[in-house]
Structure formats: C-alpha cells, structure tokens
C-alpha cells in the first residue's frame, strides 16, 4: 500500500489526471454549460401602440430574463426569429386595449417561440407568463382594483434559479467516477500489461490484500479530488454548502466502493490500457454523465433506459450530493443512496477479487 502511494506520488500523470482533469472539467462545465435563460433576446411586436401595450412592452424590457427588440411589424420580427437573432416573439394584437376592458373576452397575447432549441423555448414561455402575470398584478394594484390573482412560485434551496448550483454538485459525482473508476482501471491495467501484477502475486501477499493495497490509495486520491472540487464549487462558483462535511464524506465513501470495484473489475478483464480506458469511459464516465439524473431527468427517458439508470452508481449519488450542497442534511435521502451503493460496492469488489484470482491462476 505504501508502495502504491509512493508510486502515485512519483508518477505525475496520475496526479495530473486526478487533479487537473477534474478542475478542467469543472471550469469548462461551470462556465460553459448554463441552462439559465437570462438576457434571452426576444422580439416584442406592438401591432397598434397604445398606453397599455407600451406599458406591457416596458414590463418585458424591465425583466432580467429578456433583452427586448421592439418591432412594429410582425414580419420583421419573424425574420429575426428565422435567422436565430431572437428566441421568441411576443405579439401584442391591435385589439389588446379594447379586449382588456371588455368583460366577455380574455385578451390574447401571441407568443411564437424558436422550437429548434426546445429547452430555451419552454423556459421563455414560462418567463413570458410570469412577466404578464406580474404586469397584471401591478396594474390592478395601481388602479386600486382588486382583480389581481394568479400564481406565485417559489424555488426552495435555489431561489435565484441558478442552474450552476445544481450542475456543479452533479459534476463532483462525474469527477469522482472519473478518478475512482477510469484512473483505477487505467493504472491497474498498466500493471497487468507490465507484468508487475504477477510479480506481486508471487510474493506472500494474498489477492485480497493486494487489491486492498491498490484500492486504498485511489480511494484517498478520489476523496482528495472531491475535496478540491468542493472547495472550487463553494469559493469560485459560489454554490452554497448547507449540509455537513461528515455527510458529504459518508455519501462519497459509499459511492467510491462501487466506483473502485468497477475500476478493478475492468482492469482484471481488459487486456491492455487502451481497452481498459475505453471500457471505463463507456461504462462509468458516460453513464454518470447521461444516465444519473445529473442533467437529464430520468423520468423523461424511455422505460428500458430508466431500468439501466437504476444500476448506475451515480444515479444514487447525485440526489445526495445536490441535497448536501443546496438543502442541508436530509438523512432519508442520504440513507437511501448509501443503502443501495454499499451492497453494490461489496458485490463489485468481491467480483473483482474473484476475477483477479482467476486471472493469476
């Protein structure tokens, strides 16, 4: 075990991969991927400018979600939408003023959205509704009438709706999968390739001891990169950390059991470093990214894929991670994750020990 630790310290490429790669990923993702549609460019078309339609347009201009381009002509705005210069158009019809005063008709606002980016389209529609509802509320308050009603929404844990706050904790899981599985698989595969694994087997160390010696240093390394990522998340990206460090340690430990088991299993099965790295990337990094609920909702996926998601260790870590950062210590969430991850880890580690023995024998 000491030998393994010394090897890690001596071989800068492991450290590089364990610390630099995660940081690179974290920065790229933290800055590059952002689901918040703030300052989204939209066009507002006033078919017949009137006091109330101008007032509504001003409400759009004041909103922090939009950057408004005013247009008098609908075709002009539609051209901008076609060219991708705006994500949506709000058309205030010529009859808007009259309809507002009528009892029988609900005034219409037409919204045309660029469906070629569905997520932004859905968000923009929600924001348009919010702006309109606020505008109505303010107007009726001004008029001293009590007709305002509608929907208020509050986002717990993340009132400013910053997507980074849930993306960055999810990224910590991706990084741990990268270090725990991919790095372990790669390094142990290299030992097999060089034959040093067999040499170790010839010494009086048992397979179990040998694997433990392999696992523990990478376990510590993975926890180290988790800690670095947490520090960056909190101090660089300003993600709140409302839970306790102990809880974070507990869930990370539970996650690393299957992650390391998977890495060892891959290295015992793969013939060389290249294959090991491909297998590890495909079976660990990509699923943690795509099938863990980190970015994409599991409930929206087809049934068969939802089943696959259940055996991805990251799927059981992400809710706990997001909770420990944003919500605080909610033990029922943590215990559920730990409860699934621990047997998964024991199983994978046992399998890895068995396969290693088989390979040597």
């Amino acid at each position: 075990m000491l030998k393994e630790s010394i090897q890690i310290v001596r071989d800068p490429s492991s450290i590089l991969m364990a610390l630099i790669m995660p940081l690179l990923l974290l920065f790229l993702f933290g800055y590059g991927v952002n689901l918040d549609a703030t300052h989204t460019r939209i066009g507002v078309v006033l078919e017949a400018p009137s006091p109330s339609s101008r007032d509504l347009a001003a409400a759009f201009q004041a909103s922090r979600y939009f950057e408004v381009r005013l247009a008098a002509d609908r075709r002009e705005a539609e051209r901008a939408l076609m060219a991708g210069e705006v994500h949506g158009i709000v058309v205030v019809p010529a009859t808007f003023d009259a309809d507002l005063r009528k009892l029988s008709r609900r005034p219409d606002l037409q919204v045309i959205l660029d469906g070629s980016d569905p997520n932004t389209a859905a968000l923009v529609q929600g924001y348009v509704q919010g702006v309109v509802a606020n505008w109505v509320a303010l107007r009726s308050a001004d008029a001293g009438r009590q007709m305002a009603e509608g929907v208020g929404d509050r986002l717990w844990f993340n009132p400013a709706r910053t997507s980074r706050f849930f993306l960055v904790p999810g990224l910590v899981a991706v990084v741990m999968a990268l270090v725990g599985t991919v790095l372990t698989a790669l390094v142990v595969a290299r030992e097999w390739e060089r034959g040093t694994m067999e040499a170790m087997m010839a010494t009086p160390v048992t397979a179990l001891e040998l694997l433990l010696g392999k696992v523990v240093p990478y376990f510590i390394l993975a926890l180290g990169s988790m800690a670095v990522c947490t520090v960056v998340a909190v101090f660089v990206f300003g993600v709140p950390f409302r839970g306790s460090a102990g809880a974070l340690l507990a869930i990370s430990t539970a996650f690393l059991l299957p992650a390391l088991g998977q890495g060892l299993l891959i290295s015992a099965g793969a013939k060389n470093q290249f294959l090991a790295s491909q297998l590890a990337l495909l079976s660990s990094f990509l699923p943690t990214f795509l099938l863990s609920g980190f970015l994409f909702e599991i409930s929206s996926m087809p049934g068969a894929i939802q089943l696959v998601c259940q055996i991805v260790p990251g799927r059981w870590l992400i809710p706990s991670l997001q909770t420990v950062f944003l919500a605080g210590d909610v033990w029922p969430v943590f215990l559920q994750g730990i409860g699934v991850l621990t047997p998964m880890g024991v199983f994978l580690l046992a399998l890895a020990v068995r396969n290693t023995k088989k390979r040597v024998a």
Binding site: I112, L113, G115, Q129, A133, V151, L155, W156
Partner: protein
C-alpha cells in the same frame, strides 16, 4: 502526381479500416453516443411527481386539483395534509413541486378578491422545476380565467397563446440529433487524423514515407483527404439515421449541409494534423484529441445556448468551428436555412480551416527538416 496521391489515399483508408483498434475508435463511441444521446439526453420534463396541499374548503379548490390531475405531465398527484408534509416531500425528493391552495381560495374567487395559488419547487433541480412551474401556471391561469368568465368579471390575466416554430411539440430529439451529427463529424475528423501520423511514427513507417518519391505536399494531402472522406461518410450515415429512424424533419437542402460540412471537416482535420505532428505515440494522440474535443464541445452551444455563458467567455467561442457548424446542421434540418445564412456561417469555418491546415503544414515541415 494524381495516381500517387490516389494510392496514398487508398492506403490510408485501408489502414484505418483494417486496424481493429481504430475500428473500435471509429465505431464504438459514435454508436454509443448516438443511441444514448438520442434516447436518454432529454431536458423534456415528463412523468414527474407533484403533491397538492388543498386547504380550501370550497368547490373551486377541488376542481383545480382535478384539472391538475388530468394533465399528462404528471406521473402522480398526491394530496398531502399540512405544510410539514409538503416540506418533507420536497426535502426527500419525493416530489419536484408542491401546489398550495390557500384556505380562502373559493371565497376569494367568489367575492372577486385576488385568489392565489402558491407553487413550491425543488431548486435542486431548478431547470425541471421551472418547466413544471410553467405547466402548472398555465393550468391555473386557464382555470382562473374560466371561473371569472362564469362570474362575468374581467378575466384578469391575458391569455398567452404560445406556438413553437420549427418544432411544434418541442421534441428534444429534434434538437439533439442534428447537433450530434456535428459532434460525431468532429470526433471522426480529429481522431482519424490524429491517429494516422502517430501510428506511422510508432511503427516507423513514417520515415519510409518520407524517403519515398512523394512530396511533402502530397503526403499532407494524402493525410488530409481520407479523414475528410470518412467524416462525410459518417455525416451521411447519421443524417440517414436521424431522418429515417428518428423522424427528424430535413427542411433545408442537403447540398448546403454537405457544402458546409466539407469546410468544417477541413478545419477540424487541420486540428487533428496539428495534434498528430506534436505526438509521438497513439496514446498521446488520443489524449491530445480529447483535450481538444472536450472544450470544443462544451464551448460550442451544443448543450446550452452560447448567450447563457459569461460575457468574457463568449469571444473565445468565435474561433471554435463547431459553433458555426452546429448552427448550420440545426438550421438546415429544422429551419430550412437559406443559402446566404449557410454561407454566412461557413465563411468563418473556411477561415479557421486555412489557419489550421497551413499551421499544421508549417509544423510538419519544420519537424521533418
């Protein structure tokens, strides 16, 4: 010169197709990407769990709850009793949203006082939560407007009639697949090129190539054209899959798409050559390729719009060829992009291709001499 070049190109293609290692790289990751992304990578929100806290004693609250239960977006709508239970359901992630109907909802509505509903959302999943809030808000606003119409009062909130152009049901796959074609074209262009020279170096055949009667320019062309061809074949394959298997509409001209793809591939092949000139083993080449591909993909607008990025980061994306090609693939597929828009997005790729290709040619020359 023509036949020599042709022979070199044929040789390159044969090598790529024969080597099991490069076959794995060529077939494995793109196939997995396509399948997994097409099925799993969706930001649509479906079948979510919500809870309702109906404190209203009147009829209106019950009717509103029925409306919400009738929406296909929700997998289940559970009733809870008391704010503590709401808190627990959201905390433990058993529901993404909670709808709170206040005790005076029916009375307020009848009396013409502002009747309001509160939606509480799980901010740990803020994107999904906001989309759910949009759905619920629409249901509630429609309900309130109808109630007011019954009572012959001004209906309050104007009706927002939304229409989505280019993709009326906001099918996420239609957004994902055209983007994926660009991503896979990039992957092919860079990896195949980066590996080709590195492999020859590893095997020592590069020196043989150098002493052959081929001129440096011919060798470079021979290394540039095969990845371009492989890239175009891949584009064709995935355009076919997107249209026939996944039903993504192809509204623009295929000719525009291919014309643009040639320049995009030229730009990324130039990057591949660059990596190839710098690395001595295949392992290094693969690592170098990923070091380029990862940031290029993140900073391209593939996953989320460029304008959401911090202002200081946005200028960097201007030198990323993928950024322009994504606009073209999505535009040609969904929007039926016109020729001048295609040209406007292809011109920067041409400029980038000139820089990367001539840059790598220079690097090669200096390394060879």
């Amino acid at each position: 010169m023509g036949t020599r070049l042709l022979a070199l190109i044929v040789k390159e293609l044969l090598i790529v197709l024969r080597d099991p290692r490069s076959r794995v790289v060529l077939v494995g990751p793109p196939l997995v990407q396509l399948i997994v992304f097409a099925f799993a990578a969706t930001l649509e929100v479906k079948r979510v769990e919500v809870v309702v806290l109906d404190q209203d004693e009147g009829r209106a609250g019950v009717e509103l709850v029925h409306r919400i239960e009738g929406s296909p977006t929700f997998a289940s709508v559970r009733s809870v009793h008391g704010p503590a239970e709401v808190r627990r359901n959201i905390d433990e992630q058993r529901a993404v949203a909670a709808i709170e109907i206040g005790p005076s909802f029916s009375r307020d509505l009848a009396a013409g006082r502002p009747a309001s509903v509160q939606i509480l959302l799980d901010g740990r999943r803020s994107n999904s939560a906001q989309i759910v809030a949009g759905y619920i808000g629409e249901i509630i606003n429609d309900f309130l407007a109808e109630e007011n119409a019954h009572l012959h009062r001004p209906p309050g909130v104007p009706q927002v009639l939304a229409r989505n152009w280019f993709n009326s049901n906001l099918t996420y796959r239609w957004f994902m697949l055209p983007g994926l074609i660009a991503i896979i074209a990039q992957l092919m262009g860079v990896i195949v090129t980066a590996l080709s020279v590195a492999r020859e170096r590893e095997l020592g055949t590069f020196d043989q190539l150098m002493v052959s009667p081929l001129r440096t320019s011919e060798i470079l062309l021979g290394k540039t054209l095969p990845p371009l061809i492989i890239g175009l074949v891949n584009v064709t394959l995935y355009v076919g899959v997107a249209v026939m298997l996944f039903g993504v509409p192809l509204r623009g001209s295929l000719l525009h798409l291919y014309g643009s793809a040639v320049f995009f591939l030229a730009a990324v092949v130039g990057v591949g050559l660059f990596i190839s000139a710098l690395s001595t083993t295949q392992q290094q080449a693969i690592l170098g390729a990923f070091l380029f591909i990862a940031p290029a993909t993140m900073l391209s607008g593939f996953a989320t719009p460029l304008e959401n990025m911090p202002e200081w980061l946005q200028p960097i994306t201007l030198i990323n060829p993928l950024r322009y090609f994504l606009v073209v693939t999505r535009g040609v597929f969904l929007k039926g992009m016109t020729l001048d828009a295609v040209i406007a997005n292809t011109a920067p790729m041409l400029a980038i291709a000139v820089v990367t290709l001539s840059g790598s040619a220079l690097l090669f020359r200096s390394r060879l001499e």
